[in-house]
């Protein structure tokens, strides 16, 4: 989706602000949100692509205003509401001083597309040591062997499609309709564009494609630089001018 998250190449954000001796978490609430998000991922399933897409769907003003862990908090609250772990208004009442202890959940929320596959990636880090019943994990969190050969090889000249889906994609806006050269070929991987929407993993070959700075940024490009972007095979076509 053409969202605020797709920041590569935007102007106007100012200088990169460095901080000496930066702590892992600046405030305790950030640490708690990180830990709770990992546990929620473990308890509720889903997948990392859907979780990334949930961040992209936050309203753009909040996306910028809330900062990194603020966005994680907004996503966590939204997920807990959608899955019925929290009732509408329940958190606000507690913040306002509502004193009654919450009743234990009768059971974990069940069913729905979020249960379609076991948690990937960061959720696994959250597994409590005493463990709970997990579905059998897949052999790898995201690599998936595919029968068909990769369409491109190192050195091939390719062009990205002018691909602008309203949903999740990992083709950045700055790299649409741009010519590049395949620099590395990676193993096939779960396709975020479908997996984020629970339309299946549909594994695709992945390539690191090298784009010269001038191809991306035109006259304003810095000399002697390039960008490598990891591109799923459906993002690419042979360079028609090659």
């Amino acid at each position: 989706m053409n969202g605020i998250h797709d920041m590569g190449g935007m102007h106007g954000f100012g200088a990169v602000r460095l901080e000496a001796d930066e702590p892992v978490f600046h405030e305790r609430w950030e640490a708690r949100v990180f830990g709770m998000s990992a546990l929620a991922g473990f308890r509720l399933g889903g997948n990392i692509d859907a979780r990334r897409h949930a961040l992209e769907r936050l309203d753009p003003v909040s996306y910028l205003k809330d900062g990194y862990y603020g966005r994680w908090l907004a996503r966590l609250e939204q997920t807990l509401l959608e899955r019925g772990v929290l009732a509408p208004g329940e958190l606000e009442a507690r913040v306002a001083g509502g004193g009654a202890p919450a009743a234990p959940l009768p059971s974990l929320p069940q069913g729905g597309p979020l249960e379609s596959r076991p948690p990937r990636s960061e959720a696994k880090s959250a597994e409590p040591s005493e463990g709970r019943q997990l579905p059998t994990p897949p052999p790898h969190p995201f690599l998936r062997p595919v029968d068909r050969a990769s369409r491109f090889a190192v050195g091939d000249r390719v062009r990205t499609r002018n691909y602008q889906p309203p949903g999740h994609t990992r083709l950045t806006g700055y790299a649409r309709s741009r010519r590049g050269v395949v620099a590395r070929v990676y193993p096939a991987c779960v396709f975020p564009d479908t997996n984020a929407h629970f339309r299946g993993e549909q594994p695709q070959h992945v390539y690191a494609v090298r784009f010269e700075a001038r191809e991306l940024w035109g006259e304003s490009a810095e000399p002697g630089s390039c960008v490598h972007l990891d591109c799923f095979e459906p993002y690419l076509e042979p360079d028609p001018g090659a």
């Binding site: 990992a38 609250e77 880090s125 950045t172």
Partner: protein, 205 residues
């Protein structure tokens, strides 16, 4: 922007998160001790000291260096590191002619097992937007001036591949032992926004 959400205190959010955790604990959805354990892991155990061990080993052991560049995941696992956000690792070698630097413009993907959780600047709109467009200018602002003859390669982490930079071994470090070399390997050098620290100098990040 006058306010920086990743640096400024947010007492409103502190209250809200406390309320959320208490509700989830009462519901039996999570155990705060498990949250503690996760936080402790990323504050104490998983961080750039892991990556520094990888780099120092590569500097002293040519065979390990070759394995690291050929199959980052496996070579990093030899030293005991792996897991979430590091399940397919690619190591990029900086040389006198090529300087690599890593970003994730779309979110903030980062190789957690070797570098820990990303610093605020890595997650900032300023870094995410600018490093792809004007890497030399951004690196200069961050204290790294690269000569024009050095090619700058930016790697935008748009798939599940996670990148780590193998910085050049600093001049003057030839006689240092592996454990002494680790101290020269900064987080920022492994992202590619700095060089490894010179012996006797304190490195940033």
């Amino acid at each position: 922007m006058s306010r920086d959400p990743d640096h400024d205190a947010r007492p409103d959010l502190a209250l809200r998160v406390e309320a959320l955790e208490s509700l989830l604990a009462e519901k039996g959805f999570l155990d705060p001790a498990h949250v503690d354990a996760i936080v402790h892991r990323y504050e104490e155990d998983v961080g750039p000291l892991n990556g520094a061990r990888v780099v120092a080993r590569a500097w002293v052991d040519p065979a390990y260096r070759a394995r690291l560049l050929a199959d980052g995941t496996a070579a990093i696992a030899e030293l005991g590191f792996g897991g979430p956000q590091g399940e397919y690792m690619v190591v990029l070698e900086n040389t006198p002619k090529v300087h690599n630097v890593v970003v994730c413009t779309l979110c903030s993907c980062y190789p957690w097992p070797v570098l820990g959780l990303p610093p605020a600047w890595y997650k900032s709109p300023a870094y995410r937007s600018r490093i792809v467009r004007e890497p030399r200018a951004v690196l200069r602002e961050m204290g790294l001036e690269l000569p024009p003859e050095v090619e700058v390669r930016v790697w935008d982490s748009s798939s599940e591949v996670r990148y780590m930079v193998l910085p050049e071994r600093p001049v003057g470090s030839e006689k240092l032992a592996e454990d002494e070399l680790r101290a020269l390997v900064t987080r920022d050098a492994m992202i590619g926004v700095a060089k490894a620290a010179a012996p006797g100098a304190a490195g940033r990040g």
